[in-house]
């Protein structure tokens, strides 16, 4: 059974992660790359390192030392644009999907609510509300080059919001008592009353239309990702459970 849980979670994560990575490649990453061309024009910048690393010789430039570039690259590795960057993004998306799937599996175990094909889309919807929509309500999906508050403060608020929202949904999944609705509402609203860290009021070189497009597309992509992950997790769980049932009890399974 435990092996089934991990197998279903990981298989669902690979499938949902690959589909999501494909959507990201065609719809999300192009906007990130576009936004990076404006990076540093406003108040935000990656600093000198990025500026030096971006340095490209014009054709016909006499040979000269690239020691500075080499030193910076050795100091701050990043995947090359193109295939390497896409490969890393795909890998990271699949690994993040596996992380989310295992957390869903853990919650399923702790709460004693199985993930099935019948309820998989509800698990997916819960994951979307918990890990995408609720954090985005306070911290809108950001593009490189946009002003943002302190990273650690944002990460703490993100985790706290996801935790509170997830607990609220789980509570309502277990009981529909009237006190549970009140507690759930409080849990969902509290992070937004506390408020997300506010971005400094600095000018940004990133055009507004790019940022709004990015916010809509990332939330839409996350929605597809979560529905796929939940439904596939449930489907694979059902399949593995049926197969385990078919194996005689004495057999090594």
């Amino acid at each position: 059974m435990i092996r089934n849980l991990f197998a279903a979670a990981l298989l669902a994560a690979i499938c949902a992660g690959l589909v999501t990575a494909a959507i990201q490649h065609f719809r999300v990453t192009p906007i990130i790359l576009h936004a990076e061309t404006f990076e540093g024009e406003g108040g935000h910048s990656h600093g000198e390192a990025a500026a030096v690393a971006d340095h490209v010789d014009a054709p016909g430039t006499p040979a000269h030392s690239h020691d500075v570039v080499a030193a910076v690259e050795a100091e701050e590795w990043a995947p090359q644009d193109g295939f390497e960057r896409t490969a890393y993004t795909t890998l990271a998306t699949v690994l993040a999907a596996a992380g989310f799937a295992l957390v869903i599996g853990a919650v399923s175990m702790f709460a004693n609510i199985p993930v099935t094909f019948a309820n998989g889309f509800l698990w997916g919807l819960a994951g979307f509300l918990t890990f995408s929509l609720a954090p985005a309500y306070g911290l809108a999906p950001e593009l490189p080059g946009m002003p943002a508050a302190d990273l650690v403060a944002r990460q703490i608020w993100w985790v706290g919001t996801a935790l509170a929202t997830g607990c609220a949904i789980l509570l309502l999944a277990k009981t529909r008592a009237s006190w549970a609705f009140a507690v759930a509402a409080l849990l969902v609203i509290a992070p937004h009353i506390i408020g997300a860290p506010v971005a400094p009021d600095e000018p940004s070189g990133v055009p507004a239309h790019l940022a709004t497009e990015f916010a809509a597309i990332t939330l839409g992509t996350s929605f597809v990702f979560w529905l796929l992950l939940g439904s596939l997790f449930g489907k694979f769980s059902d399949v593995f459970a049926t197969r385990s049932a078919a194996i005689p009890n004495g057999a090594h399974a």
């Binding site: 999300v28 690994l95 993040a96 992380g99 957390v103 175990m109 702790f110 593009l143 993100w158 939330l219």
Partner: protein
């Protein structure tokens, strides 16, 4: 006491301790993956997962 084959395969067939062990293992591995891809400050992890962090709505930069 020779029991016939057990066909119950759902979650309900697991004891509480089995569920806690499986859940803890899954949670530990899952959170490790999420911290690595979404939160870790190490520049290699950050740069490798950069586009995923932006795309999935993790705080980045």
């Amino acid at each position: 006491m020779n029991t016939t084959t057990t066909t119950s395969t759902g979650l309900q067939s697991l004891s509480i301790s089995q569920r806690l062990i499986a859940g803890s293992l899954a949670l530990l591995l899952g959170l490790t993956l999420l911290v690595g891809t979404g939160f870790a400050g190490d520049f290699r992890l950050h740069n490798g997962a950069h586009d995923t962090r932006h795309a999935m709505g993790f705080p980045c930069h």
